[in-house]
């Protein structure tokens, strides 16, 4: 800490150069912050809620439905606590661009299984008693300006309505919130009742898309999943039971290896950044050789000089990097607003930590070569300008 003014003076020696370098570092870390948020969003939320849940779907593919009658058989498997079911409705609100998941669920059980959905008790009651009722997450309600009491029409894509209209009407009876920031994704869906759905559709009655199962003991989840699959082995509708997180991950992987793309881009960015700051630090130290010699003359030890130079480059990286991450933090909500909620990612704490580690690592990498040079200076040569 004693040497902080010295470090700052070193950085302020050439203000333009330092400012330009800081801005390049900030640009690189702003990019890192945003891309890492995307990567995290695609690698399934790391959250404890849902750890006791299994998803049971058709073994053939998620598009293949299962008989609703499986519910009782799954519920009777030892270790199963409660079972709900869900169907992908695929309805469109006004325009295909407004995509959001809309799912027909068995209302009471589905809400019981998802305690992270924070729904006021009277709204929950309304959902359980209104046949045409639907509930949406806060984020989705904000996006379209919906309020409880609104009637929401969804254009049918998969399931035409029996009454001959090409849209279905839902009464919005509740808006739920999710407290954990990494689960924000589930605030962007609309849930409605299976009984209304099953009576109104022209095909597929008595089938469901997938079951959500809560196990009594999360440690036994694998065994329970295997027991469920064994129940339906060699039947017409075979099942695949897996943990909710596995299910989400496999889904994200289908879209593509987002992690790989992000890593490739960031590798290019950081390679350039190391080159750039390394060059700046090298130049800065070269210009200061006589000053360093003076420092040595008045008694600064070699080791200390090494630490000072490395500290200077790390400080440069930390200032620029934090500036960049802060810019990413500010930019992400702006991007969400600009894309009308389509691109909604937030920076996770782990992104900040990874960012910090990268700043320190790059700072040391680029500071070390000039630092070694400063350490090995011979005072006489340096003072003489040789």
């Amino acid at each position: 800490m004693r040497y902080l003014p010295l470090l700052v003076a070193g950085l302020l020696r050439r203000k333009t150069r330092t400012a330009l370098t800081l801005l390049s570092i900030a640009a690189a870390f702003a990019l890192f912050g945003m891309l890492d948020a995307v990567r995290v969003a695609f690698t399934a939320p790391e959250s404890l809620s849902g750890i006791d849940r299994l998803i049971v779907s058709s073994r053939l593919s998620l598009t293949q439905t299962l008989p609703q009658a499986y519910l009782a058989r799954i519920a009777s498997v030892p270790g199963v606590d409660q079972v709900a079911h869900a169907d992908w409705f695929g309805g469109i609100y006004q325009d295909p661009k407004n995509f959001f998941p809309n799912i027909a669920v068995s209302p009471a059980a589905y809400l019981d299984l998802h305690p992270e959905y924070d729904l006021p008790p009277e709204q929950r009651q309304a959902f359980l008693t209104t046949r045409t009722g639907a509930i949406v997450g806060q984020a989705l309600a904000d996006r379209f300006g919906w309020q409880v009491g609104d009637r929401i029409p969804l254009q049918a894509t998969l399931y035409p309505n029996k009454d001959g209209r090409d849209y279905w009407l839902f009464d919005l009876v509740g808006i739920y919130q999710v407290t954990e920031p990494q689960l924000r994704g589930v605030e962007r869906q609309l849930l409605f009742r299976y009984d209304y759905f099953d009576e109104g559709r022209t095909l597929g009655q008595g089938t469901i898309g997938w079951f959500v199962v809560r196990v009594r003991d999360p440690d036994q989840a694998d065994q329970v999943a295997q027991a469920i699959d064994r129940q339906f082995e060699n039947s017409t509708y075979e099942t695949t039971a897996r943990s909710e997180r596995d299910f989400q991950r496999s889904f994200a992987r289908q879209i593509g290896d987002i992690g790989l793309i992000v890593t490739a881009i960031m590798a290019a960015v950081f390679f350039t950044l190391i080159l750039l700051t390394g060059n700046t630090m090298g130049q800065s130290i070269r210009e200061r050789i006589p000053e360093l010699a003076v420092l040595k003359t008045i008694g600064f030890r070699n080791r200390l000089l090494l630490v000072l130079v490395v500290a200077e480059s790390t400080l440069l990286l930390l200032i620029g990097g934090l500036l960049g991450l802060a810019m990413a933090r500010v930019a992400l909500p702006a991007i969400r607003a600009a894309s009308s909620g389509q691109l909604d990612v937030v920076m996770a704490p782990q992104s900040w930590l990874t960012g910090l580690a990268l700043m320190v690592a790059i700072g040391v990498i680029v500071g070390l070569p000039p630092a070694l040079r400063a350490m090995r200076l011979r005072i006489v040569d340096a003072l003489a300008g040789r």
């Binding site: 150069r17 053939l60 998620l62 295909p96 254009q155 496999s250 593509g256 350039t272």
Partner: protein, 440 residues
Amino acid sequence: MVRSERWAPRLRQVGVLSLGLIAALLWIRYPLLLAVVGVPWLFWLLTTPSGRQTLAITWVGLATIPERLGATSVVVVGIAGVVGVLVAMQAMAAGFQATVTRAGNDHTAIVLRAGANAELSSAFERSAATLIAQAPGVRRDHRDLPIATADLVLVATVPRRSTGTDANLEVRGVGPMAWAVRPQVRLVEGRAFEPGRRELIVGRGALQQFSGLEPGEDLPMLNQGWRIVGVFESGDTHESEVWGDAETLAAAHRRNGFQSVVVALTEPAAIETLRAALAADPRLRVDVETTRDYYTKQSERLTAAIRIIGTGVAAIMALGAVFGALNTMYTAVSQRAREIATLRALGFTATPVVASVLLETMTLALAGGLLGAGVAWTLFHGFTVSTLGANFSQVVFQFQVTGELIARGLQWALIIGLFGGLLPALRAAALPVTVALRES
């Protein structure tokens, strides 16, 4: 008075920067502007005395690059990174778009249930499929049979070859006329499936992406093995599918209907006849589109998303690269302050000095752009990947690094070079000769 003198250079900098910005924006909008500006500039360089002075100074600048390799590589590598990412992301979008849209044309029409936005969300009764195939506007073959296929679209979960993780494979059941409706599909290995037997043929792309689809192997679906008997190519999104006989697949999956009917039209204009006829039939509620329109729509969303994200990422990287270039060029100018001052003392005017710094930066930028585009081309051209398409199954496609994309990348490189060189060039011209000469 003193105040205004201090602010004059700042004002000039702001003015020049705004001019540069306007020029860059104009150029992005009208790429041909390069020729309008570039040709006279080249003429000026080669014929006028100050032009030749510029060339001479630039040559000296470029010749000293080996002495400051580290600093110069910042400009080159920085810009190469921007161009590489830009070109690669655009190549991904271009490849996906080309693969999907190539499946469509104006001579065939696809009929889906009203409201369905993809084949997978559509469904017909068997009777409806027959009505559609018999409608007016549908071309008929020499036996007077309609050239139409009622397709069944299923999704199977199959492990991916690269990662071993499960992914969705599109299984398409086709009618006997499918080959006439889609003449681009041709067998390259083995034989066609036989109706009534559990046999499939696999597209070249699906064969590459999924494991267990080699000819002779069995694809398990609903406790039954389906033998792969052939491989087909089509050069479009159908290559990501496996094909079988629609009736056989429907029977095995207990389906009594189809997802889509694709018909050949007597002529492109016949789509209106067909649409009117189907709309007039009270037994049907369907949407009719040319396959070109259908597949264009299917590719739009993802293509636009990749383009926007790719451009955004490249733009942020470009900002970083501009700062890096500025840094390098400022340093270069201050290192060569004495040399520039000497030239000025000898009678060189400011213009060749400014022009030469700009020219040097642009040359470095161009080198960076070529490097980036070259790396993108070497690494990614023809690189095969797959993603989730409209039918909730994998679409296999290849990156396409086209000449147009490379040209756009180089355009970006030059714009970055322009901004990176502009202010240092002004600094070089504004250096007071006497001070600079005295500097060590």
